[in-house]
Amino acid sequence: MPDWKSYAREHLPALGLSGPREREVVEELAQQLEQAYAEALADNLGPQRAAERAMAQFADWPALAAEIRRAELPVKETIARHVPEHWKLAATEQQVRTRWGGSMVADFVHDLRFAFRMLRKNWGFALLAIGMLAFGIGANSAIFTIVDTLALRPLPYHDPSGLLSIESREAHHAEQAPWISMLDLVDLRQRTQSFTALAGISPVWNDVVTGQGDAERLETLYVSADFFPTLGVQPTVGRTFTPDEDRLGAGARVVLLSYAYWQTHFGSDSLVVGRALDVNGAPFTIVGVLPRDFRYLGEPIAGTSGKINLWFPLSANQIAGTPRFVRFLKVIGRVKPGVSGVQAREDLRSAGATLAKQYPDTDAGVEWDAAPLGERISGRVRPMMLLLMGAVGLVLVMACANVANLLLTIAVSRGKEVAVRAALGASRWRLLRQFLAESFALAALGTLAGIALAYALLRLLVSAAPASLLEGRTITLDSRAMLFTVGAAIACALFSGAPPAWRILRADLANGLRETGRGFTGGHHRFRAGLVVAQISLALALLVGAALLTRGFVRLLDVNPGFDAARVATISTLLPAGVTHAPDALAMDRALLDQLAQVPGVQSAGAVSRLPLLGGNLGSWIWVEGHSYAPGEHTSVEYRVASPSYFATMGIPLRLGRAFDEHDSVNAGGVAVINDSAARAFWAGQSPIGKRIKLGANPEKQDWIMVVGVIGDVHQFGLDAQSSPEVYRPLAASPLFNPYLVVRTNGDAASLLPSLPGAVHAVSSAMPVYDSFSMAALIERSTAQRRFLLLLLAGFAASALFLAAAGIYGTISQSVAQRTQEMGLRMALGASRTNVLQMVLSQGLRLALAGILLGAAGSALLTRFVRSLLFHVSPLDPAAFAIAGVSLLAVALLACAIPALRATRVDPLVALRHE
């Protein structure tokens, strides 16, 4: 006998009833079959015929299932009969879910599956929404990754919270870079109790390595022995410095290699320890190799940390033995466990006060300060990073608003479906969850696409970002970025799903079944208008920000650097280590200038101790004749050495007197050229020509120097940095061991760069060449961070403009579509097409204007926070606000024009017949 139960179970489609009930039905139907079969057998039919007769009773199983379902479920038959198939599906799914026992996960999975099915039905809409979310999420992930790496995450050192950056400044020269002298550091170690270690770091040093192929100039650092243990750095090979190797006055000739240098110059040979490296002509023993990912991110190498190739003990530096007034160190400290930053700072200050009493000549008026190292490091880029994060965040909010708007449109068009499902017994909560599942499904797909986009975008950004910003750090989408992305995606889903969900919660579902379904759809216009206004105001904020930065940047590029950068190229070198006497150095400097002047295409060549826009400078104290100085009072100036031809070659204008000439060389010293700022600062209202000054820490030991010329101010440290008083001495008075050479060319400066190293090597092949640029490239490099920020912000502003346009277009189109009848009626009653056009446009413009006003008010409050990024532009710059407002208005008008024109083409008759 056939197994009728399994036969019934196999043939009856799932009913969507509870498990036990479903089994009951199967059993009952099976019995019907079984009994009919038994009876047929009794009628002497063969088993085959008997089975056929039994089966014939239930020929159409799906119809039977539908009938049973209808009977079993609390369905108003009138509704059920008119429900489209896919809505019925929804109702069934709803029941299936109940049967599964209603676990949270199963619910969620089920909701998502249904959501994906709905999205497939509306694939055009889904693609649009996913695209917008992908863009918003992708851009956010990429920017977050950069911001996180550069400004948010803790420093990659052992216990970074315990690291302090320690600085001292002269109170009346607060503008000078804070450095600490070697002797002060030694005293501080003894006189403070709060620190387990105080490590000193030299300025970036240039050392020449020979014996490894061509002489190579390398950027190096000299650090005290406790530097690496303080940061918790374990060398990859060998060891770091011992305290014995860093004894003051007896620095050992040992060297640590950077990982990159080890790879390129020693082929990652693990037996490198103990080998010698010729540095400045003397052998240094290699003691270890630093880890691959080690970068010191703090001063003095902030911005160039990837370039340091060799590390030496601080005491091995020639200026380690300099007197107390020579301040050249950066100092980091690690606080003892249990000591707070405030306590450490107090401790430091009281030690500083003791020093001031003990050494009033050098330490009186010096202020000591300590701040968390992480803050010092990320503080440089934090305003920029926060601006980027804020901007890209706004873009995401706008994308979400657009998706919310789209979802709302879809929800409204599904008003009847919602009503039917409510009538079929779906609770509000159930419907709410379904709508949220749809926005989650969108967000999930958007996130997947967004992550791919983030990868691409991040690669693009990392390759386009200025080196000074990224410092060679690896920036990848790591787990933190993924966590952020997922968080952003969930926020997107909630935010974009909220408006339709809100409508469900508030809608009059019971009346939703009426023909127009208004119970669900009514009153959404005001909400959508609100969304659009909010979008426009956000877009305005971004546009204002971009406009402010752009105007600032244009002004920055307009800044006269103080020299004529066109057709000037530069190259730097170091005299061979064997050259130690000034006359030899002078001869080599002159030979270098001669060689460069002979390079075809070169008009003139000059040399200077520090080139504009290329790193720092050491200052000097200046003593002006006729000025009486109180004890301890002194004034600092920038100090430079220049060859006679330097000013003309650079195109730095001579204001008064004369530049240096060859005569100054014979009559070594005795003369100086100053800049405008110095003239104003020291001889305001009179001519400085012929006035006398002394330089240095001990004026009584110095000869008088006469000012013979005044040149224009040069922006030495960047177009956005103020010029400070400068004094130039002639090359002959202080020959350059590390000359920065400049040439003025007949043609393109950049194309001449390859021929410059030959001229240097013609003097001595033992001299390295480096820092070879056209001056124009240097200017561009000095603005690279601002340019990068500007490009990004402009990109975000453009995206915002596009998203706002899409938002306003969508809303106006929707409104026009729903008012087709009204338009037709108006036109039938005599309204002209112009009237209709005006009506639609004014509706859009009202929204745009409201958004612009709101956005302008918000921007006015916000832009002050980016003041530090603006160059010579007020945060309330009216032009920037006007540009932003007008462009947004124009785009809004354009976005409204399309639906407005569509409205004018409404045929009154068709419109009235509609519905």
């Binding site: 019995q31 009773q57 209808r70």
Partner: protein, 109 residues
């Protein structure tokens, strides 16, 4: 209307059949077929949904009963509500039949 008539007739039949004592599905189907002498075209397939509908409505109640040596079967009996509804159903049914007859007579006359 046709289907409503059919359904109404079948419902009255079912309710009447189990008025005296509970019966199971197969029995009900068999009785309808026999008593109407084949006049009422009745599909077994529509019996069970109808039973379930009546049950949902609270007029009948199904219960699994086991008799010695037999498989358990689901027996349907009339509930109090069903008992109360039956006369009303019968009346409206008769009225309907009468109306049909009236129309039919007018037509044939």
């Amino acid at each position: 209307m046709q289907s409503e008539v059919k359904k109404g007739s079948a419902e009255v039949l079912i309710l009447s059949l189990i008025e005296a004592r509970p019966r199971h599905g197969y029995e009900i189907a068999k009785l309808i077929e026999e008593r109407s002498g084949g006049v009422i075209e009745f599909h077994v397939a529509s019996l069970y949904p109808m039973l379930y509908r009546l049950e949902k409505r609270g007029w009948i109640e199904g219960r699994w009963l086991e008799k010695a040596g037999q498989r358990r079967r689901r027996y349907y009996r009339l509930t109090a509500a069903g008992r109360k509804a039956l006369p009303e159903q019968r009346r409206s049914w008769r009225e309907f039949i009468r109306a049909i007859q009236d129309v039919a007579q007018v037509e044939s006359a």
